[in-house]
Amino acid sequence: MEQLTLKKIYIFLFSTFLFYGCSEDFLDVDSREKIEAGDSEEVFEPDDFVTSTYGMLTDWDYAFSWLGVTEIISDNADKGSTPTSTGTDKHFLDGLTHTSTTPSIAAMWERWYKSIGRASYAIEYAEEYGLTDEDYKNRLIGEAKFLRALNYFWLVRMFGDVSLQHTDLLTRAPEEEVYDFIEQDLLDAIATLPNKSEYASGDLGRATKGAAQALLAKVYLYKKQWEDALNYAGMVMTSGEYSLEPNYEDIWRVYSENGVESIFEVQARGEQIAHGVNQYSQTQAPRGTGGWGWGFNVPSEDLLNAFNEEGDTIRRDATIIFRGETLWDGREVSGSVENPMYNEKAYSSANLGDADGDKNVRILRLAEVLLIHAEAANELGDSNTALTSLNQVRARVKLPEVTTTDQGQLRELIWKERRLELAFEHDRWFDLIRTGQAGEVMRAHGKPFEDGKHELFPVPNDQINQTPEMTQNPGW
């Protein structure tokens, strides 16, 4: 009897050990809280990552920080808004008292690097995804390379030496190397991107061969490689893809978005989800009683005078909203808004101050390419070519032809033309620096510009805290 029970115990023990088993199935537990990758409907196509790289251009930083570091800081614009609204740090930028801890500077630094990261990932993903359509694959890679180059260009002209994300995050690469990298990306993009007219209609707004050529021409302009600049600007001009918009003010209308003059612009729909540049129109719209925005980044008295001196009423009126005026669409700007002038190029007729604006922000257009062409030709001593290009731009806004062939005079006139043509298109400050006028102009404007310091922005303090071996720009 007892033996029998003992046997039972052995059997019991044995079966419990069997229960143990060696299987890994026990460890492979089904997730209940989080949906596992395989069970989710989401499959990511290479285009998704390119889309998010474009999408980065709609970030809020472009609606506020960017205004500070490109326009408010320059002689074209003042901070605007009410005296006590600093816009976090716009008063520092306006007064040229910004430092390495000024948030707008860090915001753009970070934004551009994150955009570069998205572009690089998009390139990598497209290369490895296994797309069979080589042209499509190369086009996606070309688009991402164009965007990467654009972001690096914005970085390098603001900070000089900057780290190349794919090589070393802890130190800064020499400016020259960064430009080489930009140049290579753009050459690759030019080789693979289709012309504007070659894209399917649904792809309108993507980076084109022309956009890459125009950006490369601009890069050469900054590098003073005049022949290259002339070449690439010429390619855009003769591509047959672009022509000047007959009426200057039409450039900023909804109906001319991606129009004949447009080379590259940030796309905006003005509806929830996929806004344009988040709040771009709102931050710059008239403020106060009868206004509908925050009123930042307002035209300076200096800019108004520049228009008036030139007798340039067409561009003045297309660029500036005056207090009390009735706009082209019939909207009356109250006489009691806070500031006397606002940026009309940011004005959205349909969306007013809504956060989800419909304003396509123009990044590159033919008029600028013509001016690059003119400047490069003049520097190469070819004043006739220069005059031809320059006068095309002037003719549209009904200004008399320039006829001087004196290289120095012509240079000054081209620079002035850039100021008036491209006001509030986020280039003025960098033109001042590039052309060496900044110190003189800004000091005359009453701003404490220090030669040898203010040509570059300080590397953000937050970055240097993270990577202490990174060097700071001179004077900061």
Partner: protein, 1038 residues
């Protein structure tokens, strides 16, 4: 498969037990007091013949004259008796008082303390119950070297336990708790009175048998079992009163007015009049004398085949915040069944615990600190006091004449109202139990199978009288106003009322979890001459986190409590329900341990554990191996020391082991998408069609175990007739791959913080313990002991650009901690104060922070770049004590017992966040008032009434303290009845004194998230103050 085959062989092997006819010897085993000792083992040396004494201590065994009987009983000295001609013998065993014969639980087995090669500390039942507390861990504080326990006196709180230094930041920091062989989440549900002993596996060579969860040490709890013999009844009861140990004196009305007016003069603003209406002592109003009450009833005993233990415990505590209550009822039942000639031993454990809690907002302590004494708790008309001030007259009141303006001193509400309105109830039920079968396959080989499970229920109900709170926010508000505002806010079309205008809200949370574990192992134990071999081989499986959470929130239930359910909420609001089923975690392990000793002189232990955890599914890297070994040499058993008069025991030991931590944070989504207006999407084409984009937010990092490796050496000794005993340990422990929350570099491609293995943490330390015990005479005995531990914690080998994780937020945008190589975990990082700005001229001509003004603290420009910014912040050590120590003194005279326990820490700093974050017109301490800067030259140390809120070392104070944890005097009545075996009365003062220079309420600050070093650990903001308790109690045994 190999393992399975091994089991099969083992299970099928049957070891025959031979019995040969001899003389039959009958006898009885008793203790020195003639009490029978049931369950004594009697073995005829060199044979397989053995017997076990019965209920009355009687036994029979076959033995022939000349053979030797080996008599062993746990807790008594072994005896060897040579069989003579007598067939009837009485054996008296002497109690063994040496700690070395103590049995220590080592995980899947036990060992004599003298045989250990690792570092294990034990705490006995009497030491645990002496410090009245909710959980046994609180009672361990100061008693064991190498364990740092940070207590909280909040009712129902769990202390933080750090064994041999903190080795992780973000992963699980708690030790592994094993109760009667079964892993549990914590030991909060176990009444300390049910605990027989606690063993702490401190070093890796001991703990690695628990592999992947042992990185923070292992605490093994053994609960009480019945002992063979007559039924024993015991009744223990105590009652105590609690109050704040270290109150802080706040400024009174006059001091407050001075300070206020000085501040107002500096920055411009209205000032207060000298004559005010109130002088409130907020802490006096807020704090009450709390109470603690504990009753335990237990019955235990045993018969021939069954031992039983049953107890019921009721614990009730009311905190120093009004109506803050915690109650716990615990039922414990442990039974042991011995079957088939004791070949099969079945043990059943069951612990049922119910808790019932009414929490109150701890933020009230923080809030009370900030309240102006000029604000009353309630106005004369009964309305709640708020910080309204008539800015025209400078009187703190809400009443204003025509043209006078009313403002607020500060934005904080009334803490007494917060406590009053907080209506929260938490109930939990924990069913924890298990079943263990031990089967002796042969004399040497035993198979054990154990199943344990815990079921936990939690429910919480919060009722928020929102309208009443709104009314309380301003004494001029009326119910009509509320209704008017509510009407205006209501959506006319849908009738939906914004939830902020509901009369009340009700939320219910319901959590249910389950866990189980199963262990099976074989133990082989045999003495081959002088070679003692012990082998353990087994496996275990465990499943935890099985369960769900249900949460519901609704608005406007009827006011009577009986209707407070989601069923009765109003339909006019957006109500909320949430439900989640947790992803279970499974663990699977194989383990083996070999122990060998030669002649009790040379010891060697080796263990290996192979663990798999479902947590690491993403990387499909389930498995990891955790080996260890230990060596020991008992010098006192060598010939050259054997006869030493002074050295009774001397052993050196050392070991190495590898441990893991599987409770790690995991990265969730690497790819980001957005269905909203973020920067992920774009529009293209003439109609600007929406394209959804995707981007990489954080790198793909498959995390794995945090691995800890540790080696250590130690020495145990007993001298002078074992009156002096002690031990010394040194350890060097390294977490090889600590997980950090990495903030991506600004210039990197990643946008979101992510977890990654990124640093090492080293903990090196020494531990000393020493005790002297002696009997002076029959009436007098005493003992004195102490322990000291030192730990050096350092973050090392941080991956490039991975440092800089910050923490210690003060909730006002200021942080106090930062991770950096070469610094301890949770190191303080802030400005260094180099004085007080005396004049505006000084501010203008030196590097200063924005807004600096005379009377503000002056921060040192460490890098001398003329700007005060993050680069001028400096490291100031850690909140974690570098050393802690305990002392104890025990004295017995006849029937009187007296003991004192003390505990102290040092080498750390704590942050007085209450003092630092004072803004606007909040109150200050009397000390701040008395020492303040009042103008040029008054002081260069303390700031004035106008000051900033930057974090600086001015607020960082020494965290050192020494506290008398316990003073107990007891009196045991002499035998006065044959029915009562013991009756003792005692008086205990718990935490009666604390010696500290810290200016806040308590330097013992656990902080948020259970002691996360990068949260508020060491920062006093809403910390519960230390309390002192005076207790009277009684122990009765029948």
């Amino acid at each position: 498969m190999k393992v399975k085959l091994f089991w099969l062989v083992c299970c099928l092997a049957i070891f025959p037990v031979g019995v040969y006819a001899q003389n039959t010897i009958t006898g009885q085993v008793t203790d020195a007091d003639n009490q029978p000792l049931p369950g004594t083992n009697i073995l005829v040396e060199g044979t397989n013949r053995y017997a076990v004494s019965d209920f009355d201590g009687n036994f029979t065994i076959e033995a022939s004259p000349g053979e030797v009987l080996q008599v062993t009983y746990v807790g008594f000295k072994d005896r060897l008796i040579t069989v003579g001609d007598d067939t009837s013998i009485t054996i008296v065993l002497q109690e063994d008082t040496s700690e070395l014969d103590e049995v220590v639980v080592v995980g899947y087995g036990t060992q004599k303390k003298a045989d250990l090669t690792g570092s294990i500390s034990s705490i006995e039942a009497e030491d645990i119950v002496k410090q009245p507390a909710l959980t046994a861990t609180q009672a361990i504080q100061g008693k064991v070297p190498g364990i740092n326990i940070i207590n909280s006196d909040q009712p129902g709180a769990t202390p933080t336990v750090i064994i041999r230094g903190l080795g992780t930041a973000l992963s699980g920091r708690d030790p592994l708790y094993i109760v009667d062989g079964m892993p549990v989440d914590n030991i909060k549900s176990i009444s300390p009175s049910d605990i027989l002993k606690v063993d702490v596996l401190k070093d890796a060579s001991s703990a690695s048998i628990y592999g992947l969860r042992a990185a923070n040490g292992v605490i093994i709890v053994t609960t009480k079992q019945g002992k063979k013999g007559k039924a024993k009844f015991s009744f223990d009861s105590f009652y105590g009163a609690k109050s704040i140990l270290n109150p802080v004196e706040m400024a009174n009305a006059n001091q407050y007015i001075d300070y206020f007016n000085e501040g107002a003069a500096a920055i411009g603003g209205y000032s207060l009049q000298e004559d005010q209406l109130h002088n409130t002592d907020w802490y006096n109003e807020l704090a009450q004398v709390g109470s603690i009450n504990n009753n335990t009833f237990a019955v235990s005993g045993g018969g021939e085949h069954v031992d039983y233990y049953f107890s019921y415990n009721h614990y009730e505590e009311e905190g120093v915040l009004k109506d803050h209550k915690y109650r716990r009822g615990t039922i414990k039942n442990n039974n042991t069944y011995r079957l088939f000639d004791d070949k099969l031993k079945l043990t059943q454990n069951l612990n049922i615990s119910f808790t019932n809690e009414n929490p109150k907002p701890l933020g009230a302590f923080n809030n009370a600190y900030r309240q102006s004494p000029l604000v009353p708790v309630r106005y004369e008309n009964g309305r709640w006091g708020q910080s309204f001030v008539n800015q025209t007259t400078g009187i703190v009141t809400y009443e204003a004449g025509p043209g006078e303006s009313i403002g607020r001193l500060y934005s904080h509400g009334n803490p007494m109202a917060d406590v009053f309105f907080q209506n929260e109830k938490i109930h939990t039920t924990t069913l924890q139990g298990g079943f263990t079968g031990e089967f002796s396959i042969s004399e040497d080989l035993k198979a054990t199978s154990r199943f344990g499970a815990t079921k936990y229920y939690f429910d919480k109900r919060v009722f928020n009288p929102m309208r009443e709170r709104w009314i309380a926010g301003d004494p001029t508000r009326t119910y009509e106003e509320f209704d008017e505002s509510r009407k205006n806010a209501t959506n006319e079309e849908t009738g939906i009322i914004p939830t902020s205008w509901a009369y009340n809200s009700l939320s219910l949370e319901d959590i249910e979890t389950f866990r189980w574990n199963w262990d099976g192992f074989l133990t082989f134990d045999r003495l081959f001459g002088k070679h003692h071999v012990n082998l353990v081989l087994g496996g275990s499986k465990e499943k935890t986190n099985v369960g769900r959470r249900l949460y519901g929130q609704g608005y406007e239930v009827p006011e009577k409590e009986q209707y407070w359910s989601i069923q009765h909420v109003s339909g006019f609001f957006d109500n909320v329900t949430e439900n989640v089923y947790y992803t279970p975690r499974t663990l699977m392990s194989y383990f083996a341990r070999a122990q060998y000793n030669f002649d009790n002189k040379y010891y060697i232990t080796a263990t290996i554990r192979r663990d798999g955890s479902s947590v690491f599914k993403a990387g499909e890297n389930f498995w990891e191996n955790f080996p260890s070994f230990g060596l020991g040499w008992t010098l006192s058993n060598e010939d050259f020391l054997k006869d030493s008069k002074h050295i009774n025991f001397l052993k050196i030991r050392g070991g190495w082991g590898r441990l893991g931590n599987q409770n790690v944070p995991l990265n969730i989504d690497q790819i980001q998408t957005s269905t909203g207006s973020a920067n992920q999407n774009y529009v293209l084409g003439p109609n600007q069609e929406l394209m959804f984009g995707a981007s990489v937010a954080s790198p793909v990092k498959d995390l794995t175990w945090e691995i800890v490796e540790e080696w250590g050496v130690g020495l145990d000794l007993e001298l002078l007739d074992s009156r002096l005993s002690g031990s010394v340990d040194y350890y060097d422990k390294t977490t090889k791959n600590m997980i950090l929350l990495v903030q991506p570099l600004l210039n990197s491609q990643f946008a979101e913080n992510f977890y990654d293995h990124g640093a090492e943490v080293s903990n090196k330390g020494m531990e000393f313990a020493l005790e002297w015990r002696d009997n002076i005479s029959e009436d007098w005995s005493y003992s004195i002991g102490g322990n000291f531990s030192y730990n050096k914690n350092m973050v090392e080998n941080v991956k490039p650009a991975y440092d800089g994780m910050t923490g210690g937020s003060l909730n006002n945008g200021r942080i106090t901690k930062r991770l950096e190589e070469g610094q301890p975990l949770g190191a303080w990082w802030m400005y260094e104060v180099e004085g007080v700005w005396q004049t505006q001229d000084e501010v203008d001509n030196n590097a200063s922070i924005e807004g600096a003004a005379p009377g503000h603290l002056r921060y040192k420009d460490q890098n001398e770049d003329g700007v005060i910014d993050d680069r001028d912040k400096k490291f100031f050590g850690s909140y974690i004590p570098k050393y802690n120590y305990g002392i104890r003194l025990g004295l017995n005279y006849k029937n009187i017992d007296f003991s004192v326990d003390g505990f102290g820490v040092g080498g750390n700093k704590v942050y007085n966040g209450l003092k630092n974050t004072r803004t606007d017109n909040e109150n200050i301490t009397a000390d701040t008032y008395n020492t303040r800067w009042t103008g040029e030259g008054s002081t260069n140390i303390h700031p004035g009434a106008d000051r900033d809120i930057e974090a600086s070392d001015y607020y960082l104070e020494s965290g050192a303290f020494f506290r008398i944890n316990n003073i107990t005097v007891g009196y045991t009545l002499p035998d006065f009845s044959k029915y009562v075996s013991k009756l003792r009365f005692y008086f205990t003062a718990q935490n009666p004194f604390m010696f500290t220079d810290y200016s806040g309420f308590t330097p013992e600050i656990i902080g948020g998230d259970g002691g996360n070093p990068y949260r508020t650990a060491g920062v006093e903001l809403s910390a519960y103050p230390n309390t002192k308790t005076f207790i009277f109690g009684i122990n009765l045994e029948l």
